[in-house]
Amino acid sequence: MSGGMLYGGDEIGALVFDPGHHSLRVGYAQEDTPKAEIPAVVGVAPDDVKLEPEVKPEDGNVATNQPSYKYYIDTAYLHTPRPNMELHNYMKDGMIENWDLFEKILDYSYEKIIQSESQYHPVLFSESPWNQRQKREKLTEIMFEKYKVPAFFLVKNAALAAFANGRATALVIDSGATHTSAVPVLDGYVISNAVVKSPLGGDYLVLRAREMLEAAGIDLTPASLIASKDVIRDKDKPRFVKKKLSFQTTNSWMSYMIKKTVQDFQQTVLQVAENPYDERQVANIPSVHYEFPTGYHQDFGPERFKLAEGLFDHAMLGAGYIAATSAGMCDVDIRPALYSSVVVTGGNSLVQGFSDRLSRDLSSRSPGSMRLKMIAANGTVERRFGAWVGGSILASIGTFQQMWVSIQEYQEGGKSQIDRKCP
């Protein structure tokens, strides 16, 4: 009762998990940022491989549940090249797909991040608005049966992002790694029939950027494979020495690492133009200098805008279009409320100029008499962890404590009640 009635808060030691394609966010409720952001990728390597001394993992960080495989989790372990280590993403289409790998991540979270036993902490999970019933039940089952959590709850991540921005009713535009979605939330409930999503997210930008860079002949060797490099002049051929590895890195590892490299490029360089892309208009905007891990560096001008334009120029999948479509599918009575709080969240919305352009596109598509208000948190943390922060708030509100599905209820009613109890 530390918060007391005054703030309506009551912290009960709950944990908040926000699984995404890019990463899993984990932490304690009532804190303002997650304790850790763990990449949604697990490295799997046969256990019998003789490891080189320099990359020997400490015992704790490697889950060795299955005798024949080792699992590598979290950035530092993933980025180290290892023989035969294949990387797998356990997410698909915004939902958890590979439960075995996901459990590895959960084990790791409890052991290394939370450092406390799961049976003491109620757990709040976020989920995508289109999560399937059997997946919700499966997760419920795992949490109660395997982790013996005292209580569990599932909330749609769009609703959580709306809460984090102080809204219970909002049109949430969430641009993540694999998709951008427009989700209407009314009084904390997602209107599931009006959810619209497009596969244009951060990964799409990375893909296009990679194509462009490779076409330009730029070497994308990731930093973890480079032993040393020389300082060179602008646009000179890079001079660097690769690390000597006694083994061949796997394709999945290599493409993940290249993705990471391009992601950095994308995050620093790309910008969405204010208006639909126009070569001449954009030519006047100062270019951005970027140096690749190889030491190669150059200025990027119009390409910055051309690449980012992909998020908006698509006739049916642009962010402005899906937002307007989603609002248009809702009851006319609530449309004004939705338009007057358009919440922008997700890591990919941090691409420079994203919310300005979205605002422009949406206002040109929205009914003329509608008042449009964009709500985009300023801080990068709030934007990337919007759903987590919302969960952190929700799970530490006094009146929420009656909502949990407790282990007693689970034991009596089984996993199927999750659909009723977590709308």
Binding site: G13, P367, G368, G398, R420
Partner: protein, 437 residues
């Protein structure tokens, strides 16, 4: 002094030589040093000003407040009492939440010293009241074409789960089992059930829901919302034009009013000179310096415009009807007091409920009251005038008496004066004052 010496960089008095006296009278010497301003040596290289800042304890102004701590052995031994009480403990304590049906225990931080109360947030656990019906009731009263009992149950269940948020209910409707239904369909069925059940339980006031009307309203709203920018522009343009037209209309009305005023003024002016023309010659002979003649005319003029002119509210948009009963501000306190007085005498409310009719009559009544007051005032002025004329006449023609024809005297006014006694006489009498001059 030491300071000055410092500034001048003069030598300090050398340390006293060790003599017998100095050793024996050590006490005395020490005392002398301690009574005078104690000046420790300034360290080499330290600026004089900085040093002065450091060592000015004894030169301090005396404290403004008497402090206990100094008298009771100085600051040294008094401890700050902040930490005296033991802090109350917080503990990770289990609690149950009466808002839950499963008696699950959770833990939170609480002071063990606070006696356990009911979970404070449980009281926010509010549920909507929903209609419930038995099988028999359903069969007898609630059957409806197009709705099975199962589907109706589903509807009620959704209403309970989503606290009557019909938009969410329509969104989560089980479309696998039942066909899709619109928000209006759901509301229609739900409120019909509520109505039937309310009637059964003998309630008088039954609310009805007009689904058709709602559908039409939404259709309209949709059209309104989906206007194209050009349409909105056009609408704005038309609204602007309308405003202009109205402004012009007002302007015209104002002008005609002005014109009418001018005409009536001109009429008055035409009349007054005529009256004066007619009467003046006689008066001038009789008493050329009599000012009261004009006053009478003035009073007559006042009576012509008497009553209350209530402002016209027709064109000024939306307003409360009670606004129309407001007395115009230029009425003056005397008159409004008088109105109040008479209303009270008549036993009427000062602020009746402003229905259309009441408004009209009330305003007319008050207008008449004012008119009455003005007429009375004019009458009494005239009477006064008459009397004073009589006196003048009698003074000028001693011995003669002027008999005023009885029709000029307000014989019937006596009864009125009786009615309008008290303060009204004051009101009535006041306009007569100028005739004293």
């Amino acid at each position: 002094m030491a300071d000055v010496r410092d500034i001048m960089e003069l030598e300090r008095p050398p340390t006293p030589e060790i003599t017998r006296e100095s050793i024996l009278g050590a006490d005395k010497v020490k005392k002398r040093i301690s009574t005078g301003p104690k000046v420790p040596k300034r360290p080499e290289g330290m600026h004089r000003e900085v040093y002065a800042l450091l060592y000015n304890d004894t030169k301090d102004a005396p404290p403004l407040f008497p402090t206990d701590s100094i008298r009771n052995n100085g600051y040294k031994q008094t401890k700050i009492k902040l930490g005296m009480r033991k802090p109350r403990k917080w503990a990770w304590i289990p609690f149950t939440n009466p808002a839950r049906t499963d008696n699950a225990t959770f833990y939170h931080w609480r002071r063990p010293s606070d006696e356990p109360k009911e979970y404070p947030f449980a009281k926010f656990n509010k549920k909507v009241d929903l209609p419930s019906y038995t099988d028999v009731e359903y069969q007898q009263h609630l059957k409806c074409d197009g709705w099975t009992k199962e589907e109706t149950d589903h509807l009620i269940d959704l209403a309970q789960r989503f606290d009557l948020r019909f938009i969410i209910m329509a969104d989560r409707y089980d479309t696998e089992k039942y066909s899709k239904r619109s928000v209006e369909d759901l509301k229609d069925r739900f409120y019909k059930i509520c109505g039937i059940l309310a009637k059964l339980s003998g309630e008088k006031k039954i609310y009805t829901y007009d689904a058709e009307h709602e559908r039409r309203r939404k259709e309209q709203l949709k059209k309104l919302q989906e206007r194209k920018p050009e349409q909105i522009e056009e609408e704005q343009f038309l609204l602007g034009e309308l405003k202009k037209i109205e402004a012009r209309k007002k302007e015209r009305e104002r002008k005609t009013q002005d014109l009418q005023k001018l005409i009536s003024q001109a009429d008055n002016q035409n009349e007054t000179p005529r009256k004066i023309d007619k009467k003046l010659p006689k008066k001038k002979i009789a008493n050329p310096s009599r000012p009261s003649r004009v006053d009478t005319n003035h009073i007559l003029q006042v009576i012509e415009t008497a009553g209350i002119k209530f402002p016209d509210y027709k064109n000024s948009g939306v307003s409360l009807r009670s606004q129309r009963m407001k007395l115009p501000t230029n009425l003056g306190q005397k008159k409004s007091k008088g109105i109040e007085q008479i209303l009270q005498e008549l036993g009427l409310e000062l602020n009746p409920t402003p229905t259309e009719e009441v408004c009209l009559h009330f305003n007319e009544l008050r207008s008449d009251i004012v008119l009455l007051m003005e007429i009375k005032a004019a009458l009494s002025t005239c009477e006064f005038e008459l009397q004073s004329l009589r006196h003048q006449y009698e003074a000028l023609n001693p011995g003669k008496t002027l008999t005023i024809p009885p029709q000029l005297l307000s014989g019937n006014s006596e009864s009125e004066i009786k009615v309008a006694s008290g303060e009204i006489i004051d009101v009535v009498g006041s306009p007569g004052t100028p005739s004293n001059t």
